[in-house]
């Protein structure tokens, strides 16, 4: 039962991320370090497959939504607090 719920949540998250990726223009490319360069369509395919690139994309989009909810972009002191030593 718990497993099914997690699976459903994971599918819903994937759908949400794909929906967000659909907003990207098709004529641009994204460079993801040593993993290579991808078009929008290739990125969506990776998310569907949930390979390493797909998992990273999901992580980035979820992190963004979390920070957006916190209103982080409008906090002037945000960058000052980010200095990591």
């Amino acid at each position: 039962m718990e497993e099914k719920r997690t699976e459903k949540l994971s599918e819903e998250i994937k759908e949400l991320v794909i929906e967000r990726l659909e907003a990207m223009p098709s004529d641009k490319k994204i460079s993801i370090g040593a993993d290579g360069d991808f078009t929008k369509e290739e990125l969506i395919e990776r998310v569907k497959k949930e390979d390493n690139v797909g998992k990273k994309v999901i992580q980035i989009q979820l992190e963004y939504l979390r920070l957006m909810k916190e209103g982080v972009f409008y906090e002037k002191s945000f960058t000052d607090n980010q200095a990591q030593i």
Binding site: K29, I30, G33, D37, I60, L67, F73, T79, A83, I85
Partner: protein
């Protein structure tokens, strides 16, 4: 230690092609400021050449461009040029900015443990967008510039005499400025925000915050 800058600029795929040109702008800035520059581009971005310059010329600032991983940085055609536990001791007493994925995670930490003054870089993948139609003129690619300009600001800040912490904060501020600009006046580019935010979050500084070039 010589007040000089070593830059590696490999060029063999789309990513390094863009980094090559954008780092070229930083090189020009350094030259305009009268800084001695050791520019290792394309095939010269090799382990042999890097080791030779680090050992013999002892530049006080090192700017790596290229692919990487948590414990290493590569040069032309993916050749490993610096690796933790292998030859990172050559970076001792220098300030390092590695525009390279993940290397701050392990190589950065080990380098500082072994005497690097400050190591600035990324603790995860650096991600950027670009317009393939502008690939023949990467400096005119405004989309790529939103990512590459803030990241290269680190070296520009050092050239202006700022400290490591100032360089680090300035870079993050520029990422944030670009995000805010998109939010307020470029609605069609909002898809870029999660990725800009990611790069901003994963830009890190290890070592002496007060160190200067």
């Amino acid at each position: 230690m010589k007040r000089a800058l070593l830059i590696t600029r490999p060029k063999y795929d789309d990513t390094t092609h863009y980094l090559f040109y954008w780092a070229g702008k930083v090189k020009e800035t350094a030259e305009e400021k009268g800084v001695q520059v050791f520019n290792l581009d394309k095939k010269r971005a090799s382990r042999k050449e890097v080791e030779s310059i680090l050992d013999k010329q002892k530049p006080s600032l090192v700017f790596f461009n290229g692919h990487g991983n948590s414990d290493l940085i590569t040069g032309q055609d993916g050749e490993v040029i610096i690796k933790a536990g292998d030859n990172e001791y050559l970076l001792r007493e220098k300030i390092v900015y590695a525009f390279s994925c993940k290397s701050a995670r392990e190589l950065g930490l080990k380098s500082v443990e072994n005497g690097v003054r400050a190591y600035l870089g990324y603790d995860d993948d650096f991600i950027f967008f670009y317009d393939p139609q502008k690939a023949s003129r990467p400096l005119s690619d405004e989309i790529a510039g939103l990512f590459l300009e803030p990241s290269n600001q680190i070296v520009v800040s050092f050239l202006k005499g700022h400290s490591s912490i100032d360089a680090h904060i300035k870079t993050k501020s520029l990422f944030l400025r670009n995000i805010q600009k998109i939010l307020t006046s470029k609605p069609t580019e909002r898809y870029l925000i999660p990725w800009l935010l990611w790069d901003m979050q994963h830009s890190v500084l290890v070592g002496d915050k007060t160190s200067r070039f």
